[in-house]
Subunit: 323 residues, 6 copies
């Protein structure tokens, strides 16, 4: 068995080669998805209320993800002694991006929804790279048939903002609305909203609506006080989880490259440990990571964070499934 | 007569004070505009096909414009010996920005149109700070009544791109469409499109349509070969001009902070001399300057250019009117 | 009662509109201040010993502060269930900037002092945006009459540096001197100097002088070891506090945009909790926040931090007063 | 005939999709190259004598090249009325990058040479994206068999520096040596070195050696004085040209993102017109474009320039072949 | 005794003067080193596997180090009451840089080794400023004679990556290899590898080899769980320590300016306290600090961190020796 | 004769070594200046009216100047066939910086004047690196004794701004005043002010005063229309010239890193040719180059320009003297 690319003649350093996610194969034919995990870019950012730029999120994350590709077969983590994502155990493909139509939110969202449906139809795990948080709306829309077959999903959100605005000035599908849209779905069984802090586009009425619709809202400080174990213990066990990660859930110190940064956020391991515990507690059936805006990310720190979180999360999900 | 702010006790260096355009008074009450020139921000950028960020154009231009405010009464130009924009001759106000509704192009454009109508109704010269070039569409829309009263307008465009796409994928009001939208108006008598070069969203069919609808298209090189005088001579004399300046008409060396830069553009004096000649050749009745994206403008050069062009253009227009 | 700007026809997204602090009204007439809180810019940075640039601090903070303005009436904090800064409870105005005279420290400081006196005379809370830390000197000077009427003030400083140099090479009014200048005032009853660490322009003799003049000096590590409660417990209860926040008291990870960064600083909640406790423990009668240098703040993190701290601090002070 | 991608259901805006050069198909199998033009990345930068970073040149150029891909079939140039690069006339593929072995110049160069040989064996035009200028050495090496069959090549270099150092301190294959290495080849019939100016690693002896080995050296000012026509007239007519473009041949105003910038360089149209004339005067059989260092290219201007030059040059070469 | 430079007529602010390390004297004559501590730059970065740029590390660190030079005699630390690095107790010189030969790893490393040997021969403490981590290889090589005389050294590494690759594709001396090279030395008695986390160029086999060759590997989380005291307690007491600090051992929030950042790293005081304890536990006989890449360090935070760590570490080492 | 540093064992690439100007020797003892040319830094920037930051100008220029140091003996210019600055013909030293006292313009200026006097007393050519343009004031002050011995000087200024403000708000020594201060000196025989354009701190009255005091003012466009020869012909022949170069005389496209950029400036060769002609027309006896602000110079273009201009100007001056 050939295990590493450098055994076949290429050293394949991170800075070499075309930037697909993790240097996994590019598969532009969405009718023939054959994979455990499928990456889809959703470069839409006209739902933003402050800085745009998340349209380049998929490109930024893809490029940063190559840093974690050293030509090895799998990624060894010395802290738990596991090799994650070995080629013979996990098959990952990159589908490219959904098509975006400027000035037209509806058409752009429809194209994203189309892609996620294709991934679900192929029984692969969708991992969607935003774009702004409004792209979560078509992602969740796409789960209706899947949930009809396999049961409802519970949303776990990592975010600084509640994103629970109903409608304001006619805006129902901006990046302040997705969690409200999700909560309205009959096949969404509940929401865990983690990291929420400080002022945002959601008013007190939005918070009250969220709680009344079954949301569990915790701030960063509340999560630190409770501890990871207790926090994860509040998420329904054995459920099907959809994980939506707004990069601004992290602290601006490590995620400056985003539209609406909010101080006092998570550090890396707080989120990783929470997500790792989640991967063991139930089944993660969908992921999106949104609001990475590379043009504000002068050192590349934010894109690197997004890639590092996704690589580790996918690895842990697939490792949990194997058992 | 008190002429300079430092005579009244303030040195008023450029870096001091609230950033209205040119430090002129802020007048949030649009029902009571009393001025020769009214500045309006139009921070909409969801019509972009490459980099967004022009939503911060009004703020960037306003801040840069304070560099040209040294507390003097008027700006002395030693090359022609004129003091432009003295307070007793020209009254300029800043109206703030039109309201923008994210995800909703139509509503955002309507708010811009509303503002321009208010300025025209007050008999002031509208100077609109974009935003992307799609904001030219509501600006031109707002001229219907004015033109019914005062006669048609001729559009003079400074731009790298023709922006003459009719409709594609349902997009009629993006930043690739404005000149087509303008050409369709019965009160637009013609277009002079200067600086057009290299590939863009307009196809050959778009160029042919433009020419058939009465557009005069010249590239930077063609303009250099002809000379400023000959170029201005092609613009109808004595007409009412609406000037739309896409900052990417300038060379990326001085205007890097824009969404879709195109090499081989104008240098500063080429445009200033052309506009100065225009101010003498007819009546400039409206101005927009679009596509300044400060987040890509690391040295501030682009915002400074936009402010410098506008200050000089407004000065020359007002000086011509005085005579 | 009209509560939100979007009820009156404007969505008023953060990126829209003129940049006054928090989009509060601009009041250039200092003779007619009618407010609970008055913002004053003090863009002086010639007191710096390393990087300048704090002259653009007021502009940077103002622009960042608009991120926290979503058109709501007040800011809801889900962690404590309070709506802060509702319009019917708190009136805030922005006075613009004090006039600065380059090459002349004395004249610049005098203009700042003049502004603070006007605010105090109007019984408003002065919130001064630096500028370098030397601008604290005229701020404290301005309190002489106020203290004669209302009693002395206790200084609470958040800073990496002690700023307790007496005179060196004739420099008495640079950014290394303000705490020494304050300690000399008969109406300054004491100083709490929090966050002080590593080498600075103050020598051992300066530390000894500070302690002998009644200063309580604590490093970040000492404060972490003591806990917020114990630290606040060392500040005289029920006193009148003047809070001076040098942004470099925070860690460079979140406050890189400053003149003299020092590693090992505070994270966001450490300072917020300390200030929130202070707002309840006595009466905050004056605030300055200094040393934000936007040109070194490529992601905007530092200006955002300054605005976020000020918005939350002002909210908590006003909330405490209400009770 | 389907001509545009938006006819088949995708608008395909420039910011959407995986970043291959010009969004042309990615073909990782180098044994089955079927194309008129083949793009190869050569991300080697350990031959640099000042700033490195050209290893990210291929990625930067590829990303920037997507700006010129608006989903059209071909690029219409209104100045000459030609549609370049229509899909039915020209087939372009992107091969990805040659493998680079850090610390090992020889192995890295061998891998680049291997790729160029594969392209030439497939009768495609090699377009190599550097990397530093040392990658020209393996490119020229790869032409030995091609030249044995088809005749010698004449090198046309656009550059600020002569790059004619023989050996110094054992360095024969750094970015100061390639033109000397090329001149030594029996199948290189001559060199035209255009844009050379100011001090560099080549000494007077290097200039004398170049001239004695048949090089025609012209500075930017000399070229401006002569005019494009006269300059191109000095290049042997009807020959097979290998074009090597060091991006620092351009002025730092438009190409700041490079290792060793030198003021006083070419503007865009000077080079484009020279290359366009060359494409008509003989047969361009190979191209490399080197020294783009995206990490110094904060506005993206340099990568955009590289992509714009290459797209236009390839278009003109293919157009000339068609006739 | 004259103690401060401002006593002799110069205020000597940090931004004034030539940038040697800490403004200590520049001594280009390596044959006459007369100092307790000697600084040597090693600007080699062709051993990198992702971003280069560490060649400018010595310049960046030197410039940042001037921030810690306020003209005082020594640096007072109020937390422990010590004045470190007073001129009468410690003599520090800056030797400039080792000569680097591009394209030639072996020659460059030999020049670095030569410099370190000169320092050791002069009985000074070598403090080497990288450059990438491969420059640790010649540093350790240079200790053979010193260790023959004075006994073996124990390596203490602060790093995100294990750097324990043996040979791959012929690469033995890149920045993924140095700890393996060190472990092979008979005069290296052991390694403490602190901060190691996430995927890197070292495979599981590399970790196993490291452990089998006597390495103690701890992640950041493991170190936090153990506590500084326990961690230092695992390092052999009373030994001769060589400290190698890869700046990426720190968190990207404070050290973004490096080639291969890895989230979840150390904060400032974690490392300082560990090194301070080490300085008391045995004898530090050599230091290198590597992988600072100033061109990715837009705010200067990383260079400042490197300088701050080195100034404090040298101070503590010299203070410990004094006793 | 040993001519190149690489003959003596060092390749001495530009990125290696301590950053003195041009890597020439550092001579901190100003009492023993033995050189033809002496470089002095004047890092004062509190005379600025917009962006500060020129205090880091000397460091930025010094670092950039190392790019032009390839270890050769002298710089060969193939356009005129001359080797400039060979070691056996010209001796250059770097004196470091004048001491700056923050908050104190007078003391800072006095220290600069002191340094220039020392250089003149040693019969060396002073080349002063600013700092803002106010540092020209002490430079000219220092020439009183020299002029008493050797005759008056004629000032040749390259600048966007006239800098001819007399006194305003008490400011006599800011960066808007130096040419007025110079014109007042009895030993200044006249001024040639080249490049002046657009609005600045000088009013019409200032222009009139300048002309009445013997100044010859020409804009960039006027100079282009006249041609270099005619322009230089207006400068008194055979005189002693003091050349003061404000980097903002150049176009912002190549000199963005400055405090008050003004579009429409000089390109590189326009200034070089003018200065080269001047070096032949009379005797250049002093030089300052001011207003380089590296923190706004993200690509390094401005510092590179400053270094390139100075290296070439010094070379041409020394070459002219030799004859």
């Amino acid at each position: 068995m050939v295990s590493n690319s450098y055994d076949t003649g290429r050293l394949n350093l991170p800075f070499v080669g075309i930037c697909t996610f993790g240097k996994y194969p590019y598969r532009p034919d969405w009718e023939a998805i054959d994979a455990d995990v499928a990456i889809l870019g959703a470069p839409f950012d006209c739902g933003t209320q402050w800085r745009a730029g998340a349209r380049f999120g998929p490109r930024g994350i893809r490029e940063a993800s190559t840093l974690f590709s050293f030509g090895h077969d799998g990624a060894y983590d010395h802290e738990d002694g596991v090799i994650y994502l070995s080629n013979d155990e996990v098959k990952i493909v990159d589908l490219g991006d959904a098509d975006i139509v400027h000035t037209d939110t509806e058409a752009s969202h429809a194209n994203i929804e189309f892609g996620v449906r294709k991934i679900l139809a192929a029984n692969a795990l969708p991992v969607v790279l935003g774009g702004d948080h409004s792209i979560n709306i078509p992602c969740i829309n796409a789960f209706d048939e899947d949930c009809a077959r396999n049961g409802p999903i519970h949303i776990v959100q990592i975010d600084a903002h509640l994103d629970f605005v109903d409608v304001r000035h006619g805006v129902r599908y901006g990046h302040g609305n997705p969690m409200r849209r999700a909560a309205e779905k009959p096949y969404v069984s509940g929401l865990s909203q983690f990291g929420i802090r400080n002022v945002s586009s959601t008013t007190r009425e939005g918070y009250e609506a969220a709680r009344s619709m079954g949301s569990d809202i915790l701030s960063v400080r509340q999560i630190r006080a409770l501890g990871t174990g207790a926090v994860v213990g509040r998420v329904p066990v054995g459920a099907r989880y959809y994980v939506t990660i707004d990069i601004d859930g992290f602290d601006p110190s490590i995620a400056p490259g985003t539209g609406t940064p909010s101080h006092g956020g998570f550090i890396y391991y707080e989120v990783l440990e929470l997500l790792a515990a989640l991967a063991k507690r139930g089944t993660v059936v969908g992921i999106d990571l949104v609001e990475v805006a590379p043009d504000y990310d002068h050192s590349g720190s934010t894109s690197t964070l997004a890639a590092q979180v996704l690589m580790n999360l996918i690895g842990r999900i697939m490792h949990a499934r194997k058992k």
